[in-house]
């Protein structure tokens, strides 16, 4: 077998049996996935997923960045080259290097997918490559593996995508119109029209104007266009926005200065500092709009995008070369918090790639400001040890109830159950330790486990109605 029923539970027998008991009560709760990068089109069209290489290797930068780091070229993997021509060859390369993932969460997620979805029980290796390829390919062609069938099998109650303001959301509308009863929601991610460094920024803003009938060449019209687009998103069930800024800097400029800054930015005359200031101002503007329209804000700061200049020139964005940078929330968020921090109707969910901020900044901030909540460990830290560090470093200052449950944050639809399972097990493991050390009673631990799995995410993301 690839996965063990006690996986991720503490080795100490007494603690393990507490973890097992906690997990037994929450393992079958529905999946609420309020932030991720699956595609509405899959569910709108409901066509079969392709072969395992295109499905599990090509879109997953967790996978190919590790291979790349060990000298496998992107050419060999047919990454960034359009349609993959020889997926079986790519799959064999992956299989041969599968040992590289020992000790990583990717290994845990994939083994879960291989065994639970595809019934494979012998470890992937070069020798097993073809058996895996054929078994998976065959199953993917059956009706049970169509996107909608999997969605139901996965017991997903809510699934949020992440979408540009320029997206027509046609796929979301198609899902609604199809009469299929599934809750798949868009998320408003305005980076393409609020980040002056985003490719095509100026054109994006022009398109935003066309879409909304607003004059986005001036500050007022631009804000109005954003406001209208948020309403369009809300109409399709959107409850949240998402902001992928290089830093968590915020600003609260006087209107005249903001107007000037926008003019400079839109004219392409803004220097690096002014671009940063513009993004900072836009976070505060988004918070202001959230107070009006109720959308929950998510902030994902601290990534240096496209760190590898050579690859960026060859392959463009999203090639596995985004690297975290030290992040300062305490100074960065202050202007926004000075303005709106005490509004308990506003919800801002903070994420980090800089774990040193958990105990130093994030937990103290979330343990004070009514608007703040802490998102789960993100990206590189969405891993068993990353989850332990988050709970150990955030809980004592912020408590459990200033956190918001789990995000799978994935492009890999098939891995969603695996990822939620890891989070549920790690939360139960953490709670079991508290119970075993008499820091929490077992009845309370059951309540907290339920909240971390289901209650808090629905509350924080305003998914409780409907």
């Amino acid at each position: 077998m690839l996965i063990h029923e006690d996986r991720l539970f503490p080795a100490d027998p007494g603690t393990r049996s507490i973890a097992r008991a906690l997990y037994a009560h929450i393992r079958d709760l529905p999946i609420v996935s309020p932030h991720g990068h699956t595609q509405a089109a899959w569910f709108a069209k409901n066509e079969p997923f392709p072969d395992p290489a295109k499905l599990l290797v090509q879109p997953d930068h967790y996978v190919y960045r590790m291979l790349y780091s060990q000298g496998v070229s992107l050419e060999e993997l047919e990454i960034g080259r359009g349609e993959m021509k020889d997926p079986r060859r790519v799959w064999r390369i992956f299989a041969k290097h599968y040992f590289l993932f020992r000790g990583t969460p990717t290994r845990i997620w994939l083994d879960f997918v291989f065994q639970e979805l595809f019934g494979l029980t012998e470890r992937l290796s070069e020798a097993m490559a073809d058996l895996y390829f054929d078994t998976i390919s065959e199953k993917l062609r059956t009706p049970e593996f169509l996107p909608r069938a999997l969605f139901e099998r996965f017991n997903i109650e809510v699934l949020a995508t992440t979408d540009s303001p320029l997206d027509s959301l046609a796929d979301h509308r198609a899902i609604r119109d199809s009469g299929w009863n599934a809750r798949i929601l868009p998320t408003f991610r305005p980076d393409p029209v609020v980040d002056p460094e985003f490719a095509g920024f100026k054109e994006n803003i022009a398109r935003l104007g066309e879409q909304t009938g607003e004059d986005t060449s001036c500050w007022r019209g631009y804000l109005e266009a954003l406001r209208k687009t948020r309403i369009r998103f809300r109409f399709l069930g959107c409850t949240a926005t998402d902001h992928g800024h290089p830093t968590p800097h915020t600003a609260d400029l006087p209107q005249a200065e903001a107007t000037d800054l926008f003019a400079r930015v839109i004219a392409g005359n803004a220097d690096v500092e002014q671009q940063e200031l513009f993004r900072a101002q836009m976070l505060t503007e988004m918070a202001r709009m959230s107070l009006d329209d109720g959308l929950v804000m998510q902030i994902h700061p601290g990534s240096v995008r496209n760190h590898n200049h050579t690859l960026y020139q060859q392959y463009g964005r999203d090639i596995g070369a985004d690297i975290p940078r030290p992040t300062n929330y305490v100074d960065g968020l202050r202007p926004l918090l000075s303005r709106f921090g005490n509004e308990s109707k506003l919800t801002i969910i903070l994420f980090t790639l800089d774990e040193s901020t958990y105990s130093r900044e994030l937990a103290p901030l979330a343990g004070h400001y009514p608007c703040l909540r802490l998102g789960p460990p993100w990206w590189f830290h969405d891993s068993p040890e990353g989850m332990v560090r988050f709970r150990e470093q955030a809980t004592e200052s912020a408590g459990f109830y200033n956190t918001v449950g789990f995000n799978d944050d994935t492009r890999a639809f098939l891995s969603i159950p695996a990822r939620h399972d890891v989070a549920r097990r790690m939360d139960c493991a953490f709670l079991a330790k508290l119970v075993a050390e008499h820091r929490l009673n077992e009845d309370e631990a059951h309540e907290v486990a339920h909240a971390l799995t289901y209650g808090l995410v629905k509350q924080a993301y305003k998914l409780e109605g409907a």
Copy 2:
């Protein structure tokens, strides 16, 4: 029962039994509390403490910041509104939200107080609110719960308060004069007269001049006034100073420059950078005076005070909105250490809110400079997991003997035994792990446990004589 006799000990049975044995030998040692924020007036007057809301909710920002973060307003809690009018109502709100403290040290401390002091054994909840309120209120009116009786019951050998240089220390003198045989000592905390950003800074310095008969409008007179005030404190048993600076920056300016800087600061002409430089210079001046008068220096840097601008304007200081910031000791302390770092007669105890400095800066510094010692985990980090991180990250470079035992650092007098109990248990848990893994012998672990509980604090704070 609210608390378990094995609480906080490791779950592994073998390690737990070692921890139990270590703890059995140190649990009854007297409490030495060399740094905290209790009030001498309580012991001077020896009047009953008020009801539980005024005693346990109102003064404890650990408590109300959590409630505030979850949308309970300060109005509802009657915080910062003078005399509390409906303490039972406030207590009920607190009781209803007590579940928020799961997994936090506040929960551990309060459960200890409820059970060990007040004999309560059923968990606090909305339903239990009145029983708790009445039980606690009633006991607080009995002679056994008067401040002095509790002091004795708690087995406190030394209790230090924290005091402004402008404080007359009348309460401390009253305690002495009363003939009651308890060692309650003032601590010299000069922030009001060395921090140009402190409210009333200029007036404070004028008052310092009046109190000491020195001309504090000039640098020499100002320093002389500080020197005299330190002597006044020492006369009442003070052995330590405390410095709550935004950063650990120090400076060692030539006398002429320091004189000029003081003139600018006192005239209100200093910019933000000069104000910081003045604080930096004053740390070095304080070290110089400590070399003369023997007072131990404590430095508590790295807190952004009054981060929440709106609340600060409404309620003023100390409203639970102080947030840590990244802190650099290695560059900041260098001027002071270049001047006095090799003096083994000088003791400087360093604290931090930035745990990333434990292994990177603090342990390496304390493991070299004879004057440096590491204070225990402070504030947000005064918690079980915080204590584990401190020992795990500081011990291997600095050893146990460059640390100084525990500080409760609390305003909440009733929680003092609970807090020391947590520290003792966590130290025993840490040592038990070392013994179980054959990294330390059990006889040595007993010696270290005693030192961490009793010996080191008395030595570091120069409390051994008298």
Copy 3:
């Protein structure tokens, strides 16, 4: 006994037995020591080591920095005073203070040396000082304790020293010429000729010119001299370079600017920023040369050398007063990585003194760039807890196979087996936890343990041939 056969293994009985089984298979593998500070002269001359004070106290700043931090003066320890006059007296001081090392790796290493090498079984203390001194002194005079005999007894397969480009490497040549069949290799550490702040920088460069017959007063000649010297090192088996820079900043200047910068630096006209820029440029130049000659680069950044100004003036460099500083790899390395980061023929091994970078920067970087590998925990972090943090924080993003096994990095030749033993045990303990928690299969853990002990170091440091 001083050391226990299960030392450093997890306390949980099930996990411990897995750790034991893993360790049993790798404990007797040969030692590969690719980075350290032993002296080739010891093996060239093969003369007896001196008494225990000169051998174990005087050269080991881990030892005397702890004593110094607790008020023992360097005078008492006869540090930095030339030939030690009363080693027995120094040894007694050390023995009396041996308890200070409780909980530190120094204690673990020394107890191993005392028991395994010298057969001592009763703990060192003031009372045992003379017995230890006499026992050790006596053994050191026997043939079994001569450097070459110990080298063979230690089962060392490769031992690398660290050498200045100005070193004639006569001792390395003498070892080769002696016919003794041991692989002792130099490492090219160019700090004396690439760091403008290095004492004697200008003279060093002039000497480099003399040694190589190049005109090192111009940029081209300087680079050519370095290139030639690297070849001279390679000729004696050198496979790696090492770079001890204050920061990991790199630069990739146009040739004209680099030429100008060199001229300014060599003329002594470079300010602090230009000196830093020069070091930054030199890292890129070294990478360029590594691509040609195949030498593996090691970068050891982030230490503030000679932090204690007073001691530096009295005693000079390397007196135990080097302190880590926060280190930024993600921005610092970008110029070099933009140039050469995608070359899988290049190997750059990164070290850190700032543990907050493990999960934030180093693991993400090494998990992407083909040229990058992560060195083991360094210096203050070369300790049991430091090793746990490294594996826990780096493995999930970088995997095991982007790490390079263990470095002892020591001047203390006798401690080499002890240090490798600690690393092997901690790796087995980490792997045992993964197995016990069903995150890795036991057969895989055996493979990984072998790789971490032997395979990866030989591969990363290109020691597989020969």
